[in-house]
């Protein structure tokens, strides 16, 4: 690899819907709303946008080439639309590369999730190769349960530690107007919640949300012209671990670690402590610990200890948005985290979050964190 990208690219506008369990609106309606709102947030018009990158999955939509249906909603008529079949943050990474290549100077990244319209357990099962995994009926929760089991066993961690992540994120979500879950929970309530797939408890599982998000990304000189505080993209990365669950090193979030390392290297971040805020896609509580370790905030197996230390002495913002545990519009969740990170870096977040110098957003896709994308943002 050659290293960084020369051109400066910034996120200048974004919008997300309120994420809810079931929205009585078509995906097209959701997309259209965030497209219009994100453009309005930076005083741009759809006419100025050259490229639209959307993310989604035909399976989740129950249609084939569902990108075709998004064309109108995204305003992609006579523009270049490309769908990234993956998480929304990966779509944003591709959009960045597109602008950095010099072929386009603006891009709209759109992602949406409409879990209420499909059987999400079945969608997750369908990710797995058909010969050895699918006949077992392994889904997102059981795959994650196996990973959590490996993680806890390797480092001698009690599964009760996960409750601390839930309590923290649910408290943060209560203050996030877009979050689906906006009520706090106590540690006792988490520990008392029934097992979903042991060792995962029900309150440790992210909800299935309907929602959409859009982000406006532009080349540097346009960002300067727009008179809004831009969130400069300084690093990107993404990675895919092996597929068959039995052949992977499940005690580490390998893809997340590779993605974060790549992004940090590009951004010139030597120590994760140089980042002020982290927005992560923790579909299950234990994954947040694995993200801390993958991003280099602490050593392997030290995730729970790191969280306890932060609670005592303060430190970076860790899912100040409430994370996926409060809103999970798969596969848009990563883009939502990116929007939340952009808000933190530009001081346009929810009241009380202030402004940070540098934020990192990290995504998650596939069974047991097989795939991940990462982006680092900085204020001017």
């Amino acid at each position: 690899m050659s290293g960084g990208f020369a051109d400066e690219v910034a996120i200048v506008g974004w919008a997300q819907t309120e994420h809810r369990h079931r929205v009585d609106e078509t995906p097209m309606g959701l997309i259209n709303r965030v497209v219009l709102d994100s453009l309005a947030s930076c005083n741009m018009s759809i006419r100025e946008i050259e490229v639209i990158v959307d993310s989604g999955s035909d399976f989740l939509d129950g249609t084939a080439t569902s990108a075709g249906l998004a064309v109108d909603a995204c305003g992609a008529h006579f523009k270049s639309l490309i769908r990234v079949a993956g998480d929304g943050l990966l779509a944003a990474v591709y959009a960045l590369l597109r602008i950095a290549s010099g072929v386009a100077d603006s891009a709209l990244v759109v992602s949406y999730g409409k879990s209420s319209e499909s059987d999400i357990a079945e969608q997750a099962r369908a990710c797995a190769e058909p010969f050895f995994t699918r006949p077992m009926g392994l889904d997102a929760v059981s795959a994650a349960a196996l990973q959590e089991s490996v993680y806890l066993g390797r480092y001698g961690i009690s599964r009760d530690a996960c409750a601390d992540v839930v309590v923290k994120n649910r408290a943060a979500g209560a203050a996030n107007p877009y979050a689906q879950l906006r009520s706090q929970v106590t540690r006792e309530a988490v520990l008392a919640s029934a097992d979903w797939t042991h060792p995962i408890r029900k309150l440790e599982v992210s909800p299935a949300s309907d929602g959409a998000c859009a982000i406006v990304m532009v080349e540097g000189s346009i960002a300067e012209r727009l008179c809004v505080e831009p969130a400069w993209i300084t690093g990107i990365g993404h990675s895919m671990d092996s597929h068959y669950i039995g052949s992977r090193d499940l005690h580490r979030a390998v893809a997340a670690a590779n993605a974060a390392t790549m992004a940090k290297q590009m951004a010139g971040v030597e120590d994760a402590a140089e980042v002020d805020a982290f927005e992560m896609c923790e579909f299950f509580a234990y994954q947040e610990f694995m993200f801390y370790e993958a991003m280099g905030l602490c050593s392997e197996g030290e995730g729970p200890g790191f969280l306890s230390e932060q609670a005592r002495s303060g430190g970076p913002l860790l899912n100040a948005s409430g994370g996926a545990l409060c809103a999970n519009p798969l596969p848009a969740t990563g883009l939502v985290r990116l929007a939340d990170a952009a808000a933190l870096v530009t001081g346009r977040g929810a009241a009380g979050t202030g402004q940070v110098k540098r934020a990192l957003a990290i995504g998650n896709n596939g069974l047991a964190m097989q795939s991940s994308a990462c982006m680092i943002l900085e204020s001017s």
């Binding site: 009926g137 066993g153 042991h198 092996s242 068959y244």
Partner: protein
């Protein structure tokens, strides 16, 4: 008023296995043997086998018998049943390191407190074997 319109997807698939996976299923069906593949470059023995190494990208053609017993490395307990589940719930998902293999095999066991990391397990074969991974109905503790 917003309503919903339902459609169930009922698309049938017949995935070609290729020779390596085909050989694994034949051996399992015909003689109850488990095969692994050997990566010529990194030496890893993978069960289930593949004609390529997921770690280093090399092609793998050598097959080698592994098992029949294995050591449980990880357990997750599935509490609720679902259509098409391999066993009646509650049941256990296992990652098993078969004797002679370096990777683990995903399979299932009946709900049993004795099945924990370290337990030695052996396959319990299905009455009728048709050349799928479910020719092993589940794994059970060796001592049974």
């Amino acid at each position: 008023m917003s309503e919903t319109r339902e459609q169930r997807s009922n698309v049938r698939y017949r995935w070609a296995t290729g020779e390596t996976v085909g050989a694994f299923f034949s051996a399992l069906r015909d003689s109850g043997r488990l095969l692994g593949s050997v990566c010529p470059e990194c030496g890893v023995v993978a069960c289930p086998p593949a004609s390529y190494c997921e770690r280093c990208g090399a092609g793998a053609t050598e097959l080698r018998e592994v098992g029949p017993s294995g050591v449980v490395m990880t357990v997750a307990r599935q509490c609720e049943g679902f259509t098409g589940a391999p066993l009646e719930a509650p049941f256990l998902y296992l990652l098993i390191k078969m004797a002679g293999a370096d990777t683990t095999l995903l399979h299932v066991a009946k709900d049993d407190e004795r099945v924990i990391p370290g337990t030695v397990v052996v396959p319990e074969y299905a009455a009728d074997r048709s050349g799928t991974i479910m020719d092993i109905a589940y794994f059970r503790p060796e001592e049974d």
